[in-house]
């Protein structure tokens, strides 16, 4: 476990990433200045609600943003020294699936219904490793066995509809792991699954991670309990910005941002006796649309402690205690030389 050990070389560095979408002539800032690092061996959680920018961050790393309407308008994504933002389609093709792989929320729609499972796994291997179809099929069977599908050899010839939801997500994991990637991005991998199947899949992801100690997982979810179970470090996003970054124990034990505190107070937590049966503390209002975000702090319209300044000036993301970053005017840093995780604000004149 790294727990945000900054002495280590990061595997992936996202610097001031800005991904905007052109919606009816105006730019929606889905991700607006996001910076973070991913270290070898860690499970990094990104939590947020709909429209927080968590999925767009993931798709930006994979360069899978549909353009138009979306575009990465600024920032860098450094993977082992290469800036993925500047890579062209063919160079990215070599990274995607081989170095960085992704699994999606919907196991129902992310497999191609007209090809067999075997063909879909073999495709990745043949594309990236140039091995023969026979070898690819052999490896595919091995992968299916590793993700816990019985009778793998036979099931290679089955089509996606012959698999249940949990099995399909296993197949997706098999495809993602086919080339032994160093980063696995999992975007809500268990949201569509039942809770017993969710437990199986999360267990499987941790098991496979243990087999390769230097690989990292970026786990994107709205489910705080899944984060608590799985992650080493957590990024909390809201309104296209990172609001808090902390080690998972620190985040659940000492949340500092009013939004993080609000989220933790609004979920039932029967396993904690102090909370059991108590009325939930709801965050008022609704998640704002990214077309319509407030000018200052993105959370100010729903924040119970907001002061005047929150509505006009966006606070920077400041290190409060070592490796715990918070974007809030009301949280004061304890460090003499705190790091600030924000890039230069984008020039308004920059042509989009």
């Amino acid at each position: 476990m790294t727990n945000g050990n900054t002495t280590q070389q990061p595997l992936l560095e996202v610097r001031d990433l800005r991904t905007y979408f052109n919606i009816e002539g105006s730019w929606a800032k889905a991700v607006d200045g996001v910076s973070f690092e991913v270290y070898p061996g860690e499970v990094l959680g990104i939590v947020g609600e709909s429209g927080s920018g968590k999925s767009v961050t993931a798709l930006s790393i994979m360069k899978l943003i549909p353009d138009p309407p979306g575009r990465i308008v600024g920032g860098q994504i450094l993977y082992k020294g290469t800036d993925l933002v500047r890579l062209d389609y063919t160079d990215m093709y070599r990274i995607r699936g081989k170095e960085i792989a992704m699994i999606f929320q919907e196991p129902m729609t992310s497999l191609n219904p007209v090809f067999t499972i075997g063909m879909q796994i073999a495709e990745v291997l043949q594309a990236h490793e140039g091995i023969s179809p026979e070898d690819a099929r052999y490896r595919a069977a091995d992968l299916l066995t590793r993700v816990g599908i019985p009778d793998a050899e036979k099931r290679l010839d089955d089509y996606p509809h012959q698999f249940s939801g949990g099995m399909r997500q296993r197949v997706m994991i098999a495809i993602a792991l086919a080339c032994n990637p160093s980063i696995l991005i999992a975007d809500e991998p268990t949201t569509a699954l039942d809770v017993t199947i969710q437990a199986q899949i999360l267990e499987l992801m941790l098991e496979l991670k243990q087999q390769r100690g230097d690989a990292a997982i970026i786990l994107i979810t709205h489910n705080l309990a899944v984060v608590a179970e799985m992650c080493h470090r957590v990024i909390v996003m809201y309104g296209g910005k990172i609001q808090e970054i902390a080690d998972v124990f620190e985040l659940f034990g000492n949340p500092l941002h009013p939004y993080t505190k609000g989220l933790l107070a609004s979920i039932p937590r029967p396993e904690i006796p102090e909370y059991r049966g108590k009325r939930l503390v709801a965050i008022p209002g609704n998640v704002p649309s990214i077309m319509n975000l407030p000018k200052g702090c993105k959370f100010c319209t729903r924040c119970s402690v907001a002061i005047e300044r929150c509505f006009t000036v966006e606070p920077p993301l400041v290190e409060i205690t070592p490796n715990h970053f918070v974007r809030c005017h009301l949280v004061e840093t304890t460090l003499s030389t705190p790091r600030i995780l924000d890039g230069q604000p984008l020039q308004e004149t920059m042509s989009l």
Partner: protein, 351 residues
């Protein structure tokens, strides 16, 4: 919460036919609900949990007797007894659509998807007023409109919103509109089918709190159908756990959540991720395989194919719910035996 019964379900069976072949013969049945019995008291919230396909939604629909509209060939067996405030109980399942009408205002429903459950062409006023138009025609239009505004206020929406249309609202607000519609006729029971699972985390708590407030104010009973166990624990007085069309365990929320007896409930509860990293790595009972299809259920106990304590006898009989306390019932004869055998061992050691 009083102990007088509001609704009693007795041995409910719901089979949907499966047709196949050129002649479209009935070749099998989907045994969606296969012998379910439970009761809901006035003002009580019963949580109904289980994984997808276990029949929990079908139970909810059977209670308001709409299954014949969903599937005209459905086979229904058993009774759904509604206990009116005065007079003899009525079996809702035996009623025709017309006979059912006076009871529809007593039992309302809230749906999962706040996007598709509101008619996009009707204004909020029309949506919320529709049950009143149908069930309270003696009220004047003005009275009905006033009630709509009162209801909107009750669910935390400004009465001015009445002239707007559903697309102008967020998911949480739409769910509030759905709740206002359900409340319109002063129901005694609201069937809530996954009412918060489509909502953002920060909005879920608002809707849960609203439902609790309304329960307090109007003494409404809820059948709360959901798959999120911590939410169900939070809002329910009692919890029933379903697996493949049967209730395998029912009891107070603490009995079911903290001392589950049935091997399926134990696996289900152990699979719930805990929102506290310090409690990480709790022991999980990982169930092998997937839920069998309800068309071809395993003989005997339907859980035996995935059960960690299954034995040969399990294939030969369907376990009945047996009491473990005055409120706690479990459909597995072997959970007690395990308990007894541990006790015997201890006795042996003592001797």
């Amino acid at each position: 919460m009083s102990s007088s019964p509001l609704l009693e379900v007795k041995d409910l069976h719901v089979y949907f036919p499966v047709y196949a072949g050129v002649l479209q013969r009935r070749v099998a049945d989907v045994k969606a609900v296969d012998g379910v019995s439970f009761a809901i008291a006035r003002g009580e919230t019963l949580g109904l949990v289980g994984e997808s396909g276990c029949g929990k939604t079908t139970v909810g629909r059977a209670l308001i007797n709409v299954l014949r509209h969903v599937a005209p060939d459905v086979r229904l067996k058993g009774e759904v007894l509604y206990y009116p405030p005065e007079g003899a109980p009525v079996n809702l399942l035996s009623l025709s659509t017309k006979q059912m009408r006076p009871y529809r205002k007593r039992i309302a429903m809230i749906f999962q998807d706040p996007y598709s459950s509101l008619n996009a062409r009707l204004s909020v006023r029309e949506i919320v007023r529709e049950p009143l138009d149908l069930h309270q025609p003696q009220m004047s239009i003005r009275e009905r409109n006033e009630r709509v505004e009162w209801l909107l206020e009750k669910v935390g929406l400004q009465p001015e919103y009445a002239e707007r249309y559903p697309h102008e609202f967020s998911g949480g607000q739409r769910q509030r509109i759905g709740i206002a519609r359900a409340l319109a006729t002063n129901p005694e029971l609201i069937i809530c089918d996954e009412p918060v699972s489509a909502l953002d985390v920060s909005v879920q708590a608002q809707v849960i709190n609203l439902m609790e407030d309304l329960r307090e104010e109007f003494g409404i009973a809820y059948l709360f159908i959901a798959h999120d166990l911590s939410v169900v624990y939070h809002i329910s007085h009692r919890i029933a756990v379903m697996y493949l069309g049967n209730i395998v365990e029912i009891g107070t929320r603490d009995e079911v959540y903290f001392t589950p007896k049935h091997p399926y409930t134990q696996a289900l509860i152990s699979a719930v991720p805990v929102s506290d990293p310090r409690k990480r790595g709790k022991k999980r009972i990982i169930l092998e395989g997937d839920i069998p299809t309800p068309i071809n259920k395993p003989s005997g106990c339907s859980f035996r194919t995935r059960c960690p304590i299954a034995r040969a006898e399990c294939a030969h009989f369907t376990p009945e719910l047996q009491p473990h306390s005055a409120t706690h019932y479990v459909a597995c004869p072997y959970v007690d035996q395990e308990f007894v055998s541990v006790g015997e061992e201890e006795n042996g050691l003592l001797q």
